[in-house]
Amino acid sequence: MERLSSDHSLQQGDHENHNVTWLNFRGSWITQSIVVIVIRLTLAILPGLSPEVSWTLTNLVYNTATFIMFHWVIGTPFDHNQNECGNLTLWEQMDNGAQFTPTKKFLATVPILLFLVSTHYANYDMAQFTVNIVSLLIVLIAKLPSMHKVRLFGINKPYPD
């Protein structure tokens, strides 16, 4: 476990990073909720899928997609302050690195609620339950404030220094 050098935190400054501000719009929250519902409904329509399987797939799709988007891909699509955030994930760039902001609270709550709802409606066997809970735990751990700028297993580490 290794934290990125303080150099990055020192310089993460006051410039508004337009690569992440869109996440703070209520519209993007609503869009995300709608996307989750659409995924669930699509999977429900597909023939041959039991409710358990379709709930598991909903969880998996949501968790995997958000994990890749928020915690795996680093950098910014559009240059920001000499590529200041080149080594940071989207989650770390959000709100200039501040924790417990409304957007982060919303995004942390969605997968938990999704899981709780799914366990309520589905009758998981052990294997499915494990898949669901593990994928949930992975996205939750990545969102912990203590994991800010922490690089596990050398993933996304800029260079071996």
């Binding site: 080149g86 924790q99 417990f100 709780l116 366990t119 309520h120 339950f129 404030p145 260079y159």
Partner: protein, 504 residues
């Protein structure tokens, strides 16, 4: 016993639970929650426990207060704030000088009139100047002054603007052309301050995420340039080409593994090191640069006008075409006795700095008279390299006097034999830096009493990357004749002998 509970403890517990369940059912919506828990319980208490934990996590995350990791915003009460204010004692705006600083201030020489080869002191005596970077003796030369005055009458005092903002005049462009021709590069760009030239050239090219490989003995201006570029800086041991290769090789291996787009990569070093007088091994550097595909930024602030057959610096010294070095940075404040600096390179390298060189874009351009003075100095050197011969003779004489007969002196001299300045350091380090500085200052004072102006090399110790050991920096100048240099060197030798013997 079986149908009635008699244990008072159990009875109390039962009663409490009953009241609690009534209270819960009284809460609106509680039946839904209970139904939900019953449904998802699925006869598995662990599952319910886990879900409760998830809800607890959610609640914890929800009540968390917004903060930035690493920032320690302590909220103080009014009382605590008042206490802190009462305790506070203002520090003086300017700290009282320490004994060392006080003595340093008192020891500063007071000079009447202008500085040259033989400045006049406040006591009315002339002393031989071995302290100024007046290598070619161009400082205060009449023919330079005449041109400068002429320029002053034509163009006025300042330019009142940066180069890109009404600050460019014809003499700037002429000087740029002249410098480019003198060095042998396609183009040159002129800066207004010698110090900020290299500190501006480095960050003009190297940005965040780029790689700079620098010698760890570089001077202060380069250190600042490396710092403000926000690039990743790797240092190699001073003039150690094997160590440079080790660093470059490690970077090559790393870049093979890296997923990121390749960074811009530069080797940064000094032609003639201000802090040691060493000359960089340019041919080997170029070989490394080509092998590992780096660019080379070479600071020639002290070698321009001194090294090489034409005095065109390290490239001239090694007989390498100047076009082989990507960026040659030089100062016209040292050997050419004016002010400002320049960067030579390809057209692209130069044009980029006209938009991206901070000191070029945001600093008022070089006053016309200084520009013309520099042009005149370079012209004089180009017309007649006799002055270089004179300088080299003086260097040889100085090293001869101090080294040949200096075997007995308890000091060490470093630097290349071609360097126009020598750092004299104590052979055995003293207890601490200040002590050493004091001993060297005594030598300086003793020399001043005998008619030679010397200076210690002065640094901001706390800011230096690798603070060099205290030294007296003896500068050779073509403004003095061979005889005068010999005389001055003898005075220095005697001063070292006398002072260091007395201290034993």
């Amino acid at each position: 016993m079986a149908d009635s509970i008699t244990d008072p403890l159990l009875l109390a517990l039962n009663a409490t639970l009953t009241i609690a369940s009534r209270a819960v059912s009284a809460v609106p919506g509680s039946s839904i929650a209970i139904k939900y828990i019953k449904a998802s319980h699925q006869n598995d208490p662990y599952r319910t426990l886990l879900e409760a934990a998830l809800v607890a996590f959610m609640v914890w995350y929800y009540v968390g207060t917004k903060h930035k990791p690493g920032s320690s915003d302590v909220k103080l009460t009014e009382k605590e704030i008042q206490e802190l204010i009462d305790e506070w004692e203002p520090e003086p705006l300017v700290q009282p000088l320490t004994d060392f600083q006080q003595s340093e201030l008192e020891k500063l020489p007071v000079i009447i009139g202008s500085v040259g080869g033989k400045p006049k002191f406040a006591d009315g005596k002339e002393r031989l100047n071995l302290a100024s970077y007046n290598f070619l003796g161009l400082m205060n030369q009449e023919f330079v002054k005449e041109k400068a005055v002429e320029a002053l009458r034509t163009y006025g005092v300042g330019t009142c603007g940066p180069r890109g903002f009404y600050g460019t005049i014809d003499v700037h462009m002429q000087l740029e052309e002249q410098i480019a021709k003198f060095i042998g590069s396609p183009a040159a760009v002129l800066y207004s301050q010698g110090f900020s030239t290299i500190a501006s050239v480095i960050p003009a090219f190297a940005k965040r995420g780029d790689i700079l490989v620098a010698d760890d003995g570089v001077g202060f201006a380069i250190q600042k340039g490396l710092q403000i570029s926000r690039s990743r800086v790797k240092y190699f041991k001073h003039n150690d080409m094997e160590d440079l290769e080790r660093v470059l090789e490690s970077l090559r291996v790393e870049s093979l593994k890296a997923k990121q787009s390749p960074a811009r990569r530069f080797i940064v070093t000094e032609g003639l090191f201000a802090n040691s007088g060493d000359i960089c091994p340019l041919p080997k550097l170029l070989e490394m640069r080509n092998k590992y595909k780096f660019r080379l930024i070479l600071d020639e602030s002290f070698s321009i006008g001194v090294l090489g057959k034409r005095g065109a610096g390290v490239t001239d010294h090694f007989g390498v075409p100047a076009t082989n070095v990507d960026m040659i940075v030089g100062s016209i404040a040292n050997a050419f006795g004016s002010a400002g600096g320049f960067c030579c390179g390809s057209e692209e390298v130069v044009e980029l700095q006209r938009l991206g060189g901070q000191a070029y874009c945001f600093s008022a351009s070089l006053p016309a008279m200084l520009t013309v003075a520099a042009a005149e100095a370079i012209r004089a050197l180009q017309a007649d390299t006799e002055v270089l011969t004179q300088l080299r003779e003086n260097i040889d004489v100085l090293r001869d006097v101090l080294l040949r007969s200096g075997a007995g002196l308890p000091v060490i001299f470093d630097g290349a034999p071609q360097a126009p300045f020598v750092h004299v350091r104590l052979a055995t380090p003293l207890a601490d830096r200040e002590e050493e500085e004091r001993a060297l200052q005594e030598v300086v004072d003793e020399a001043a009493r005998n008619g030679v102006l010397l200076t210690r090399a002065k640094y901001v110790w706390s800011e230096e990357l690798n603070p060099p050991r205290p030294s007296i920096r003896i500068t050779v100048s073509a403004a003095l004749s061979k005889k005068e240099t010999e005389k001055a060197a003898t005075v220095v030798k005697e001063a070292i002998k006398k002072v260091l013997k007395a201290r034993k």
